[in-house]
Subunit: 385 residues, 4 copies
């Protein structure tokens, strides 16, 4: 029997981190062939060149597709998706995969979903069924309606996908594969690398020995015009607290320039002697960094998922993770300097929580690979009600 | 107060017929401005040049977008959608509409839905919530998850859209606007035009005075390779019955060539002295033609909807209309010459049914225009469970 | 030393026939690696599915790109080219060729030329420097200005490319590779296959034993609206002469539908009992067919090139081959039924001319392969005056 | 007689400055209608948002097209061009212009040229026939072969276009329209605005009262990998000289990131207390700034053209302007810190030259508008030899 050919399309750095253990599990499985496609911001320097990590991690890339359209408005997001469909169709037509896998809910993942489903290639969706209350939600649930198999990350998500009319036999709570990586980290006793040396970056180099904060805050698409104001509240709070802080640049989104501009302007004006800026970091190193930090601040889903498993305190700002299931590690605040400051101080004082497996137990990668091998190949479905 | 600007994107001949009364109602409304975009197969001669009828009907076209990629496989459908997104984004960016309206579930309507929703333009979807059991269903329900307002055609459809997690206050059973047209037709006592003279076409010109059949059968996308076999069963049945028959060419789909080739080859081989072929017909004339026919054969949704209202007998072939709500006028058969023949004979003998308002009462157009004027402009939603 | 990787992009059936011996020579060369890309109308059934012949001839295809946009106007030709650039860039980015080869002057070959030259990949152009007096000429000479190496087909062409400011050391009169194929045909004593049996087609099956005509007439892009009238003059002439005739469908162009519609309508109206229609034919069989015919009628460049070498009489209609160098075998006429009739009768009576090597001596394929191996890899040039 | 509709496509800030007087002359002409299309980097903040100046200058924009594909390599330039063709075709199809005008030789202007020429719309090219010795040259001369009318900027350029086989009756030496703007500047006695106040920017604010330098250096596409090294030579020289300096960011090109990164890194490391950085400036203000400066350093064509007319000394670095005609105002140097330093010192000491009209006498705009009105509408041409 020939191997099943599995296309996975990676379009962004965080998606790569999230499914890295899935890729490994497919690649080492004797009955599966991984056809890795790297596209969109995963290829771009401005967003951390995930492609370099992918290659360094030993994955062979079957095709690269540059499809990010540049622009300061939402039009660019739509056009990026259109170009993605146009080109991924050609890629799929040439690779002839048995199954295509798409990850999560970034706008451009829709391109993968449409190309595969329109071409009658069975489509697997990782991380459907979650609720966040922003544009990602339209994308996420629409992809659920296009997908044939659903690998979800929590029981709530599973229930929601089934309510959306999907066949319960095709919905699997595998947990989130990002937890697989977190699972490898929890035993380390101290940060096993020097982040300044290994990852460069710009700004001050505060001493990390007595604890540090991590910030990662992305623009929220539907509140485009406010993204600069939002980031400034966080910047003021961090500036005021004056603790050692490691700050990660946001990934690509329609509002990226508002956020980035806000950060740049603030840096020009203030000295920020306690803050160092990174563009990106390998997934495992990033988890190590979080595991040994005092608190994560921002709106990254890593705070809700991996940090719940790691027990790291999180100050979750604004609406981006709205209604996502929470472990006991996080505090939600608005875009308000005072609230952010207080929540950080509380979190640091409280310290680590106990580990929660609400988003998985660390075995998602192998479980998904097995499902990809054994699920019936089908692309014809009907709503269950 | 400036007029609300409403973009409606028409991508195919049948979609135009379906929403013509909506377009009229928007155009004549003093507080609405219609921005009509004509795209995809609606511009192509091979598929009946809907654009010519649109212009003849007095609508002003704001933009035309050629985006049908040619090909014999499903890849072309995906790529057509990608190009559609790319170009419609530019069109929307230049027209700056308050609301975008997309119609039904043809694959390329997804382009309209994605461009609008990604650009934070409120999206209205006409005819969601139905069930047919084919690729259209993935498209239809995915568009529901992208849309902000839902104008559905039946109570069952309304219930289903709400089950999909949509806000019940944004789901409206307006009935299908195509019924508005049917409503204008039911009083005519005889066919008020000579179809041969008015629409040309090719083939024999059988006498229609003592009754006639109408055939309209589209390829079914997910059964691409079978489309030629499917059409041949119908061709054999019609050939055998030897009744006056008016046959309409199928619209564009991945399998179009299978169906078209089947028809052409059959014509070369047999004389078909009872069959005349049309490429297309204006919506109202087509309804007149149906209203005075003995039976409609094929898999067009017009058999399920308009013919239910008109009470015209329908022989519905194959899976394309699976699980769509039925009035009492239709008989479902498989792709089998004998079953088709028998069902036609039965239907002709049985004659007209009573009119059913299961798909609307003839007031959808004005109702939708009013909703477009008064609905709150919003593009931010979250699933209801 | 690693092999030089040579991308050749084939976008249409006639281009494939033209460079088939180049492909073979590259493929069998121990120091070259052929990366064959098949795109545009070469993939489409409507235009003869060159891809099937390519595969049957034993070539491995590195990538297929569907990029023909459907439409009844010239807009589609422009858009097809745009999509071609977009997708071929990705293909080249993934294949990483040392040299890209583009063939002749069809509108969509510009896509290959732009993608390669913009990406700093050395570009070789086969068949520049010719003059025809239509839109192809804009394309052809623009490609010359983008190309780094020029493999031309005649001394006049060479001189013209040099006049265009190209470095004479990069301009090579290799002759036209299509002549290589013609060279293999000239010794056959009779048509070695039954065209009806081998190629199907539609229409009458006239007896070919006592001679026959061949017709191949393409629409002329800049005279779009006239293409139907043009083809009717030829149809009338052929109908009147009533000799056994084998007619080939035109390839894709903006006016294709005018020409095709003209042929279909004429067939509906008249019986054409002397004419058989083919969609396409393998290059070598086609040359055999020409070699044993009485006369080729139409505007194909095969009449000017291969037929000059074969000595077959040609009636060349209209402006499409204007100013191309002629051997002694052809007569030029206008789109006029009478002139066409007379020219055919004259040509048939006159019979075969002596072979002309004005377009090559049959060694172009190997010569081009050697040049591709030994030419310096360069993409930086400046005009010579 | 209806007005002639003239589409001009502006794709970059420098192109806008160059043809601004042409746009004005068309707009105020009673028999012409300007249809202005703004696309590519002219819409992007990163490249100076030319669109804002265009709107402020009172031009009405008929359509905007976002088509810059983001990427760190040359693939992005090719893809940007492909998307441009795809979308501009739709724009032209909807605007139905009588003539399309394309400007100069940036890679993406090819999109305008191909869309127009493929659609049989007469194409006018401003600034063909020049020689620079880089990738722009391939683009420039290829556009000449696609264009129907040529409005060139010098006698040498005219001669070269004619040598390229163009009809001499369609080649007009109008001079460069950028000189029209320069002509309005030459009488001012001092810089009439405070550049820091009016244009913001970042960095030091050196006193300009006793003279200042201006730097504008773009990456050179075919030397992509060297662009960082190139810019560093200039940075070192300027740093060493320590004179008041106003530096303009480069425009978009495949190597843009090399140049920009080089500048950013140098600023991080050194303080550059004598340098202020601007993103962009309105054309006329920029010319004022140049007119009152001691010397322009870099590789902008403004040094060769406008500065020749203004008599401002120019240190022209590297190959970008190779073989462009020179007035007596410029000195050419290599990418070498010492040479750059010396040439600057010499230039400053030498002072202003006399004005040269080698690139025009200041009347190009009106002359071109008149030609656009009176030239025969034609798109059919043949090479003249």
């Amino acid at each position: 029997m020939p191997k099943r050919k599995i296309v996975v399309v990676i379009t962004a750095r965080p998606s790569y981190s999230r499914v890295k253990t899935v890729l490994s599990a497919i690649q080492r499985h004797p009955d599966l062939e991984l056809q890795l496609v790297v596209a969109a911001s995963a290829l771009l320097d401005r967003y951390g060149s995930a492609v370099n990590y992918i290659e360094k991690d030993g994955f062979t890339i079957a095709a690269k597709v540059f499809n990010v359209l540049e622009g300061e408005n939402l039009t660019a997001a739509a056009k990026t998706t259109g170009i993605g469909i146009l080109e991924l169709s050609t890629v799929f037509d040439n690779l002839k995969p048995d199954i295509v896998v798409t990850v999560a809910d970034r706008f451009e993942t829709m391109a993968t979903a449409i190309a595969a489903s329109y071409m009658n290639i069975p489509l697997a969706h990782i991380q459907g069924g979650e609720v966040t209350g922003n544009i990602d939600e339209k994308v996420r649930h629409a992809i659920t309606k296009l997908a044939d198999y659903h690998f979800v990350a929590s029981e709530n998500a599973k229930e929601r996908v089934i309510k959306l009319g999907e066949d319960p036999e095709m919905v699997f709570n595998t947990g989130c594969p990002s937890i697989d990586l977190a699972d490898e980290v929890v035993l380390s006793e101290m940060l096993p690398f020097d982040p300044y040396e290994k990852y460069g970056g710009v700004g001050a180099k505060p001493d990390l020995a007595d604890g540090y904060l991590v910030v990662m805050q992305h623009p929220v698409t539907t509140e485009y015009l406010d993204s600069r104001k939002h980031i400034e509240a966080t910047l003021e709070a961090i500036h005021k607290l004056n603790k050692p802080t490691l700050w990660f640049w946001p990934n690509v989104d329609a509002g990226a320039d508002g956020t980035s501009t806000g950060i740049r302007a603030f840096r020009e004006q203030h000295q920020l002697p306690n803050v160092h800026f990174f563009k990106n970091m390998e997934g495992k190193d990033f988890l190590q960094l979080l595991y040994h930090s005092d608190c994560l601040i921002g709106n990254s889903s890593v705070g809700i998922r991996e940090c719940a498993f790691l027990g790291v305190p999180v100050v979750n700002i604004g609406s981006r993770q709205n209604r996502r299931d929470r472990g006991g590690n996080s505090a939600d605040v608005d875009y308000c300097q005072n609230s952010i400051e207080e929540a950080i101080l509380d979190s640091v004082q409280r310290g680590k929580s106990i580990s929660s497996s609400i988003y998985g137990d660390g075995k998602a990668g192998t479980q998904i690979a097995e499902l990809l091998l054994h699920l019936p190949l089908q692309f014809h479905k009907t709503i269950m009600y």
